[in-house]
């Protein structure tokens, strides 16, 4: 068969279908009556060598399907479409088809439409494959539940089913299978269902995908580790962080547990250890405080403000005034130490006798480890502060 005959064959089917659709207002029986054998007759007309139509386009030869249909029904003595509409209401399928035909007719009148239509028509096989995939998704959702829907088939059996559906879809699209009247309803129904289900299926699967991503992200962030979340930051926090919380002040006690004031703290590189970086502008709350405090720096010999002198002194923020932009205590008030967490810390064992000597390098490594090497003059050996009493037998 020539190439012309093959493409003409498909065109004939489409033309005949268009003619049938244009026969509005008639019962299905009447339409079948009029158009029975239409495809064969059209094909004959195209193929006939003696006939002028040989090699010409269908529409060129026979006119628009609507006109053909009108001529057919007029010659058959049936009333024209206008009369029928007055008598009998159109069923919604016919009416929507009519609208589609009208829109298509108007579009075809535009100059830019034919190439666009040719392009879309050439994409038809993509739709055939896609609708097979949609049927698979619907079947999966129905049989296995919509949690099992995935973008690509998981199991080999699913691939086989998808392949079979693609074959069915393509063969119907090509007009090879499902042509007899008894089986025609099946693919048409499937097509309608698939078109209606297109958006819901895509929406559900996209939603599932984003849900999966959310869960994965939460897991990666440690949400499933029993509440402990590992926070990764690009820059380390400057300041003093204890138990995950940045602290605002440091309270220093000596070996005996007595509080120390005005202790300057430096780190192993000799940099001052700071807890605040606000230059006195910020407010800080302590546990048990009724109002927030702000801190003031200490001044060193060179006139520099020093913030690594602990415990930081300050006053309730209400006692500050902002003169010239910088915070300053009001006249008559002075900076005090914020409340200590406790009045006395537990005393240490084996420490606090030898003053620290920076030149010595390792200060505490030698000697003080073993109890009894250097007796502690203060006499307290443990947390209890009472005098030691020798037990008398």
């Amino acid at each position: 068969m020539s190439v012309l005959a093959d493409t003409a064959g498909l065109d004939v089917v489409g033309y005949a279908a268009a003619v049938r659709r244009s026969l509005v207002g008639l019962s299905q029986d009447q339409v079948d009556d009029l158009t029975d054998g239409l495809e064969a007759d059209l094909a004959d007309a195209l193929a006939d060598e003696r006939h002028v139509a040989h090699g010409r386009e269908l529409v060129e030869q026979f006119g628009a399907p609507e006109a053909y249909a009108a001529e057919l029904r007029a010659a058959a003595g049936l009333p024209a479409a206008g009369d029928a509409r007055a008598r009998r209401p159109l069923d919604p399928v016919r009416r929507s088809r009519e609208v589609g035909t009208r829109v298509l007719g108007r579009l075809r009148a535009q100059a830019w439409w034919p190439p666009a239509e040719a392009f879309l028509v050439s994409l038809r096989p993509v739709w055939w494959v896609f609708r097979a995939w949609l049927v698979l998704q619907l079947a999966t959702a129905w049989v296995l539940g919509d949690r099992r829907m995935s973008w690509l088939p998981n199991a080999f059996a699913e691939w086989v089913v998808l392949g079979g559906l693609v074959v069915l879809s393509v063969q119907w699209g090509r007009g090879v299978w499902f042509q007899s009247r008894s089986t025609r309803w099946l693919p048409v129904l499937a097509n309608v269902v698939v078109v209606l289900a297109l958006l819901p299926v895509l929406a559900t699967m996209s939603h599932r995908s984003s849900q999966v991503e959310d869960v994965y992200r939460a897991w990666a962030a440690g949400a499933f580790n029993g509440g402990v979340q590992t926070v990764y930051q690009d820059k380390p926090v400057d300041g003093v962080v204890v138990d995950g919380i940045q602290v605002s002040n440091l309270f220093v006690y000596d070996a005996q547990g007595d509080p120390l004031q005005d202790v300057q703290i430096y780190d192993d590189r000799g940099l001052p250890v700071r807890t605040t970086f606000d230059d006195g502008y910020d407010q800080f709350w302590f546990p048990g405080s009724t109002e927030p405090w702000s801190f003031v720096p200490a001044a060193d010999v060179g006139g520099q403000a020093r913030w690594n002198v602990y415990p930081l002194r300050g006053a309730p923020t209400s006692q500050f005034e902002y003169d010239g932009g910088s915070p300053a205590l009001q006249v008559g008030t002075s900076a005090g130490t914020p409340p200590w967490p406790f009045a006395k810390a537990p005393a240490l064992v084996g420490r606090g006798t030898v003053p620290a000597d920076p030149a010595e390098g390792t200060v505490s490594a030698s000697g003080d480890q073993t109890a009894g090497a250097t007796p502690t003059p203060s006499g307290t050996t443990g947390p209890t502060a009472g005098p030691t009493a020798a037990p008398t037998p």
Binding site: L34, G37, L72
Partner: protein
């Protein structure tokens, strides 16, 4: 005058004559009409006419199955059709004679 206008009145007669000559299916009748010289008639008109004549009882129809291609619906003439054909043939000849006299030309046989 456009012959399609003339044709509308006598298409029934032409189709009956063709089918009376020999049974035929849709396109077969079209082909024979054209080869007889009626080029202007549209396929749809012929098919519709065949349909109408069948519905009115002037033609019979039967399906001939085919191995090579699709089945064909053949039309044949019956007694009522032959009677209709005769009556219309007489009408036509009278009409053609009248027109010939009116126009002052010879009757075309």
């Amino acid at each position: 005058m456009d012959t399609t206008q003339l044709l509308k009145g006598v298409l029934d007669l032409a189709v009956l004559a063709v089918v009376a000559d020999e049974d035929g299916y849709g396109y077969d009748v079209v082909r024979r009409l054209r080869s007889a010289g009626i080029e202007e008639v549209g396929d749809a008109s012929v098919y519709g006419t065949l349909r109408r004549l069948y519905s009115s009882g002037a033609l019979t129809s039967y399906v001939v199955p085919s191995d090579e291609g699709p089945h064909r619906k053949y039309y044949g003439i019956n007694a009522q059709g032959r009677a209709m054909l005769e009556a219309q043939r007489k009408d036509w000849q009278e009409f053609a004679g009248t027109m010939a006299r009116l126009l002052g030309t010879e009757t075309v046989r």
